[in-house]
Assembly symmetry: C2
Homo-oligomer: 660 residues x 2
Amino acid sequence: MSDEKVIANIKGLGIDMIDEASSGHPGIVLGAAPIMYALYANHLNVNASDPTWFNRDRFIMSAGHGSALLYATLFMSGYALTIDDLKQFRKLNSKTPGHPEVFKTPGVDASTGPLGQGLAMAVGMALGEKILKERYRINSEESLIDYNVYALVGDGDLMEGISYEAISFAGTLDLDNLIVLYDSNNVSLDGPTTKTFTENVRARFEAMGWDTLLVHDGTKVDAISHAIDKAKKIKKPVLIEVKTVIGNGSLLQGTNKVHGKCLTKEDIAQLKAKLLLPNEPFYYDEACLNYMRSKIAKRVDEKYKRSNIDYRDYVNGKCAGDKTLASYVFNNEFHYNLFDNDWHFEDHQKEATRNTNNIFINYLSHNIKTFVGGSADLGSTTMTYVANLGDIKASDYSGSNIWFGVREHAMGAILNGMALVNLKPYGSTFLSFADYLKPAMRMSALMNLPVTYIFSHDSIFIGPDGPTHQPIEQLAMLRSIPNMKVFRPADVKELLGCWQVILNSNHNPSCLILSRNDVLIHQNTNAKNTILGGYIYYKEQEKLDTVIIASGTELTYARNIGYELATKGLKNFRIVSMPSIEQYLECNDEYRNNIIPNNVKKIIIEAGSSFGWHRVTKDNTYYITLEEFGVSASQKDVLDYMHFSYDEVKEKVFKIMNIK
Amino acid sequence: MSDEKVIANIKGLGIDMIDEASSGHPGIVLGAAPIMYALYANHLNVNASDPTWFNRDRFIMSAGHGSALLYATLFMSGYALTIDDLKQFRKLNSKTPGHPEVFKTPGVDASTGPLGQGLAMAVGMALGEKILKERYRINSEESLIDYNVYALVGDGDLMEGISYEAISFAGTLDLDNLIVLYDSNNVSLDGPTTKTFTENVRARFEAMGWDTLLVHDGTKVDAISHAIDKAKKIKKPVLIEVKTVIGNGSLLQGTNKVHGKCLTKEDIAQLKAKLLLPNEPFYYDEACLNYMRSKIAKRVDEKYKRSNIDYRDYVNGKCAGDKTLASYVFNNEFHYNLFDNDWHFEDHQKEATRNTNNIFINYLSHNIKTFVGGSADLGSTTMTYVANLGDIKASDYSGSNIWFGVREHAMGAILNGMALVNLKPYGSTFLSFADYLKPAMRMSALMNLPVTYIFSHDSIFIGPDGPTHQPIEQLAMLRSIPNMKVFRPADVKELLGCWQVILNSNHNPSCLILSRNDVLIHQNTNAKNTILGGYIYYKEQEKLDTVIIASGTELTYARNIGYELATKGLKNFRIVSMPSIEQYLECNDEYRNNIIPNNVKKIIIEAGSSFGWHRVTKDNTYYITLEEFGVSASQKDVLDYMHFSYDEVKEKVFKIMNIK
């Protein structure tokens, strides 16, 4: 059996999938099949019959349009994919969607498609391995965790800013468990990279603390395999540039025309002839299959058995008392009752929620082995720095604080990678910079990953830094992401409730929105009610006419307006605190109709865009919100300028309620 | 007079501004003042009394937290800023906001603050200069346009992915009119860059086609100035790394503690003593002022005069017939009546709006000298490539197509830079990747820049590429940006109307949302009505009961449902086409109450998030929208899965209207 024969099978299957789907990307299938074969057959430590084995090597197809290539490779490697599955490529509910989707296909370790995300997630997985390795040590030499992370990237991935950020981060932290295979074909979707991408990629990586290797001929399995061997021994992250020809063997090879369009029947026929394959759709050679599968098994079986024995010994011995290990790290389900701790908060004390949040960050970091995170160079002001547990550094990954640098976008994707290896990660920056992370946050939501994004400096209340730093539409943006939960607690008690929900959310990301300005601890807030997303903070004394709804610091506005209304003898109003619209919308109709009834006035007070509140109130809604950019001035002047001072908000409420 | 004395004045003023405001960033003021002095006194070709001179050198303070340093430098350079203006630092309606804001302060060429944006805008300005230089040539040697672009960046800027993208782009296009001054002090907000940023920055830039220079001692004006001299002669973009000490002279110098907090009174006192300044707030030496101002004048006066003569000659001669020159390039006001052309479109013809849009892109590129743009490597599928006008290349900037590469985020900021030098730029990618551009788009909106963002593949209708490529919440995200106008035309006639608005929008960015799927050309659509944002597409025959509102391709759904309703004898419904909510909201109440009256049912049909439509309909609203992620499948299966097939949408409408 020759390697070339197996590769021909992979190519043939990939091309047939695209042809059957009438859609897909043949260029990478024909160009990069030898790379995939070399990696899976000779290096990747995986067990196709246990695709979620916790100690497997990870592979990320960062060039997500290479899905057909990935699926064909997985099929030949023995994963639970059938020829019928391959025929269902890009079809509804198949195991073979248009771009790779984690949890849908055995052997797919991350969802990819938007370029750059996959590479940055691979960095997160590599960092995750380093962290887990320290936290689950068997002895000073060995750990339960010991694997490499591989990614396949194209020119497009490397042009994306997020990939630069992630690469620079990986270089700084010296992630020598990371090997990136660069399908270097000098062509991107629109044309040759001479028009767009003329940098010396390897020199750039070397400048960023990586080692690099070059494989001149990407059709040579031995050369690729030799390079991977070398890379595994290098004590730095490694980029292997493999020179390939896009669409190799197609009549359109070497051009952008073969990137994303189906091959013609004629082209397929001549290609298969070249590859010595019968011109028969979905043909594969059983002997090739067995050859590739046995290569993997021969290499991995021993390690796999040993890993499971170690795990059993570990669980029964060293960590018998560590519930988080079995329940989370290795099964990806996590339950934690924060209410078991005896929390005590002083009512009426004033403190910014970014500060009180530091209590929880510290508590969780000390109590949950997998809870780890950091900040994009704003930890000292988002207040997410953990005391006494040290930093995660190139020389020592046993600490707790990750220094992401000013790399918000990569931070998001790195958190995704960490969550994919079953850590419970968090990252922080200012709310206005949430924009920088959005593409990665969408991926968290799409992959159902329990990542926690912490955003402080949550509104115009920050004052003089001006409109670039004053979020307006960011809350709306976050709330609009499907499967994302946004929490904006009013005080430390609500914050406790938010964390209780966040910690037990195994299948969605969360945003925790915190204030820089001081808030009082309310008498009427309640951690347990917070879990419901919205609850009655103050109940009307007579027939209800108006519901005032607020979140975060604006609950103080609502409370004080409530006092003034009561002083005036008003008894027909209710105040609802709404720390999480998404949690509230999960409550049943009865609850919601009870909290915010129809046919009464609803007044929403929030220092942000009105977008998204229509989900909460169906009729008679008045918005006291912000729809324009802020301004640089003192807090007081900003609030005046934006017509959002307490007095002005109060007057608006009074007017809506027809009070003089 | 010594340079050091002037620099001491700049430092003293910067520190006093921060002290007076009780907020700001002293670290960069004290570290980078010599860089700013060297640049302004010895190199930057500007005329402080004509700060918008079209042929001035541009300077961008990319490290926007260096605003106090910038304002102090501008003051010493003779711009129309008074000591009172400096005292108003970070106060409401001052000329000296917390971060630099273009059009608010004479001499400020771009708004900055979110890191990386400024550097990428500088790249856009440098590209803009290259393009304008070709388009406004006096003869084969000389052009009306001939200036350099300078930026000051810090470590934070260079960690951001957007800066990498922009740098790689600048290297590819060989922008030798760009000189970046790197305030290299090894400290960022959270601490030393040894923890976050260990790459060899100069080696990285060199790998990306830049030349680099190093100034070992950032307190030496001569060394800095000599480097800038050298850089101006180098036929590549140049990075000058200037080693500085953050907060130089403060008791906290060299640490992150001096980055963003006011100095104590004691620290200010000892600092001023060191600087040989009297300890007196807002002190400056008139002789220093005169010295610096005369240095600039002596260097620039001749060039300035010559430039204005050239301009007058040019306008009166060569380009007498070119209205766009005088009206736009040099005055930043642009009017164009697209309706003057005799457009003819065939009703009922079916074509995707991404295709029909190519007609306009071509027309405008051929007819408007300043209309120029490109795509982030998707031009061949967003269909924004201009035929017959060639590409913009490193060797020749006279073409029309910009190849941004897979660099969406930098594309946004580069477009901002181009708009800031009075081009009328556009850029294109898929709508789902709008996420990658968001931070730059927000800057367009904040700066009131007429940038056009073109997003094709506008909905789940794209089918098999799956959820990563299917926009859901993106339309809402774009609409939520203050001062952003979003257009989603139903067909080519509405597209014409959209372009008419976009071309004449001088003070806001626009998004043009286009379909990949074919749409028919409606009989009832209307280019001129499109300008109103929303209009009656089909009018009820009897008393109005229900208004069906749709945008883009979904107008076809509405139209067909309308036919079915009419067939059933229904006469009480109206169909409204809503290509732009923001345009519609600018119409007066009377118009809007007429188009979408209260107290009737409103049904919104749009293949995207419901967020934001509450601005259009105040009551009785039913949403047929999409709130969950899509799926990889054929178009038909995707629509079924998302309950958005024509039949299902029709059934929903019927149900809302109580029709069996």
